[in-house]
């Protein structure tokens, strides 16, 4: 019971503090959107959509660190995983309807992911959304137990996971050699470089989210866990 009281007091204090912060909010002295848009200069950045420009031009180190954090999460999950090599374990729900739907939907989902990636430079969309849709594809494939054969080799998966960070850093360093700041892309190449980074990010985000999902499942051969496929057929 005392726990409930403690929780009530703590959450009340936080709520009141936040409410006071909202009520007493200072009037802004400078406009962040204007500041950002003057710093980005849309024509020069090569991307017209403000959010993509902020993510990859104005605050690109945030995005770089974000993909690094994702990679760290995957590495920790890999260290904690229960014994299961890549590709061997799948859920394989034996449902003909699921298989048919996956076959129908998969090309469409890949198309949506590619469109979101491409749209990112001019309108809402970008690497994060495309990566999430791509990860959704992977989850669906795993649920259906569809194999991708050659694409599921561990080395390829490892390469894909680090590709985003690798491309980001290797695009960021050359400007330093030319005496500019880290990630300060040359103006005439910015559009293409940002699309390249975004494509690599999409792949890495999708693979990271997917591996975090795949690393979690139980071993199919443990005594406490009868294989779900066998159980289904019985």
């Amino acid at each position: 019971m005392s726990r409930v009281i403690v929780a009530a007091i703590a959450s009340l204090i936080i709520t009141i503090a936040l409410a006071l912060a909202v009520l007493e909010r200072p009037t802004p002295t400078l406009s962040l959107p204007n500041l950002a848009s003057t710093a980005i200069t849309p024509g020069e950045a090569g991307v017209l959509h403000p959010i993509t420009a902020v993510l990859l031009e104005f605050r690109s180190i945030d995005t770089l660190l974000e993909i690094a954090v994702l990679l760290v999460a995957v590495v920790v999950a890999l260290a904690l995983r229960e014994a299961q090599p890549d590709g061997a374990d799948r859920m394989g729900l034996d449902n003909p309807l699921l298989h048919a739907v996956v076959k129908l939907l998969l090309p469409l989902m890949l198309l949506v992911a590619a469109y979101l990636l491409w749209a990112g430079s001019t309108r809402p969309g970008g690497a994060f959304q495309a990566g999430a849709v791509l990860a959704g594809c992977g989850v669906l494939l795993r649920l259906a137990g569809t194999s991708l054969h050659g694409l599921e080799r561990p080395r390829w998966l490892q390469g894909g996971r680090v590709l985003g960070l690798l491309v980001f850093v290797s695009v960021g360093i050359p400007p330093m050699l030319a005496g500019r700041a880290f990630l300060d892309y040359p103006a005439d190449l910015a559009g293409g470089l940002i699309l390249l980074i975004e494509a690599a990010l999409t792949l890495s985000i999708a693979l990271a989210l997917l591996s975090l999902f795949r690393l979690a499942p139980p071993q199919s051969d443990s005594p406490a866990f009868p294989d779900r496929r066998k159980r289904r057929r019985a």
Binding site: T15, V22, L55, L70, L212
Partner: protein, 98 residues
């Protein structure tokens, strides 16, 4: 009251609610839900306050976009750790919690 400010207030409510749930529950998965709700509240607060009376602002929106991806990664990692813990101990809550 503008839409943005209203949702900032909703964010305040979600933060308080999430913290309450986080302390009250023993079950680690419920705590994870509470943690995520608190996170959503802070995202709303961040964007709502920044945009109040000034229209859409790409900078906090980009920050929140990054935050959402980090939140799902940390949730997934927490679930991996939770499963691991459950496997070695057979418990779904921590022994320090009484």
């Amino acid at each position: 009251m503008s839409t943005d400010l209203f949702f900032a207030w909703i964010g305040v409510a979600l933060c308080g609610l999430g913290l309450f749930g986080f302390i009250v529950h023993h079950h680690l998965m419920r705590r994870l839900l509470a943690f995520n709700i608190m996170g959503s509240g802070s995202f709303l607060l961040l964007v709502g306050l920044a945009q109040d009376g000034r229209g859409p602002d790409p900078v906090p929106q980009a920050l929140v976009l990054t935050g959402i991806v980090i939140a799902v990664a940390s949730t997934a990692l927490a679930l991996v750790v939770l499963r691991r813990w459950y496997r070695v101990s057979g418990e779904s809550s921590l022994p320090e919690d009484v």
